[in-house]
Symmetry: C2
Subunit: 140 residues, 2 copies
DNA sequence: TTAAAACCATACTGGATTACTCAGGATTAG
DNA sequence: CTAATCCTGAGTAATCCAGTATGGTTTTAA
C-alpha cells in the first residue's frame, strides 16, 4: 500500500505551486532545488501533470509552471490519479481493470472483492476531499 | 497504492479458514486448490501468518491450518500487516520508518507529511474495523 | 515400522516496475 | 543572438515481486 515516488513528489510540487499561486510562473529549477528533487525526474512528472490539465506552463525565459486552477479546486486524488493511474488496492476493482485482471477467478461471489471495493472507495473519498487549499490551511 | 499479491492471497485464504472455522484443521492443498493459488507460494504466506500468531497448524496426515482466534477477533489490518509490514503510504510516517526514510529532508515543517499521516490512519482504521466475521456476514 | 501426508525453510530466478539519467530539441524574453 | 526555460523520448541500473525449486522435518494412519 505504498505510494510511488512520482505521486509523493507530485503532491509536494503541487503544494509548492499552491504556496506561490500569486507569483505567476515558477521555474522548475527552483522547485527542484527547494524540494530537493532531481530536476529531470520532475520534468517527467510535470509533463504528466500538464497533460492531465492540472498545471499550465510557459516556455522561454521567465517561463515556468503554475496551477491550472485555484488551490481550492485541485484535490489530492486528482494529482495521484494523473501520476499513478486509478487508485485501487487490486486491479480487478479498478475502473480500467477488466475481470481478466482478477487473480481470483470468481469475480462475482468473491467476498474479498467487497472488501477491496470498500477500501478503494474509502481512500478515494478521503483524497478527493482534501484540496491543496485545505493543506495550506493546515500550516501551524 | 496497490496491495501485494501476498496480501491479497492472504486475505482470501483467511476468509477460507473463517468459512470453515468449525471443521478443524484444513489442509493447505485444499485451500490452494479451491482458491487457485500456487501451493508453494501459499506455504510461504501461511508461514508468515503462523509466525504472526494469526493461524495455528497441525502436522502430519490429517494436519492442516486453522484460525488461531475466532473470526470476530481477527481483522483485515492484522492480516495485511503481518504479510506486508506496516500499512503506510510513505516510509517516513511508518512506525518502523526513521527520518532517514524521508524523501523530503524537512520531516517537521512538511505539509505533505500531515497528509500522509491522515491517509495512513484512515486506511488503518478502516482495515482494523473489519473482521473476518464481518466479511462472512456480507455474504449475499 | 513405514510411508504418505502435511508442514517448514531457504535459495533462486525471471520478469516487471521504479526511479531515475541522458541527450537533445523547441520556444521566448531581453 | 543567446541564455533561460520548457519539452520529449530513449535508455538503464537497481530493486522488488511473484512464483519455483529443492530438500528437508514432523506426525499419524495403517
Amino acid at each position: 500500500m505504498r505510494l510511488s515516488s512520482r505521486g509523493e513528489y507530485g503532491v509536494r510540487a503541487m503544494i509548492h505551486l499552491a504556496l506561490n499561486y500569486n507569483e505567476g510562473f515558477i521555474p522548475l529549477s527552483r522547485i527542484a532545488a527547494v524540494e530537493d528533487i532531481s530536476q529531470q525526474y520532475l520534468e517527467q512528472i510535470f509533463a504528466n501533470l500538464r497533460r492531465g490539465g492540472l498545471i499550465r506552463s510557459n516556455r522561454g525565459v521567465k517561463g515556468g509552471y503554475a496551477l491550472a486552477s485555484p488551490p481550492q479546486a485541485i484535490c489530492v486524488g486528482d494529482i495521484i490519479r494523473v501520476l499513478d493511474g486509478p487508485i485501487t488496492p487490486v486491479n480487478c476493482v479498478s475502473d480500467e481493470g477488466s475481470d481478466d485482471d482478477c487473480r481470483c477467478g470468481k469475480s462475482d461471489d468473491c467476498l474479498a472483492r467487497s472488501l477491496w471495493i470498500k477500501l478503494r472507495d474509502h481512500i478515494n473519498q478521503l483524497l478527493d476531499g482534501i484540496t491543496l487549499q485545505d493543506m495550506l490551511n493546515w500550516k501551524y
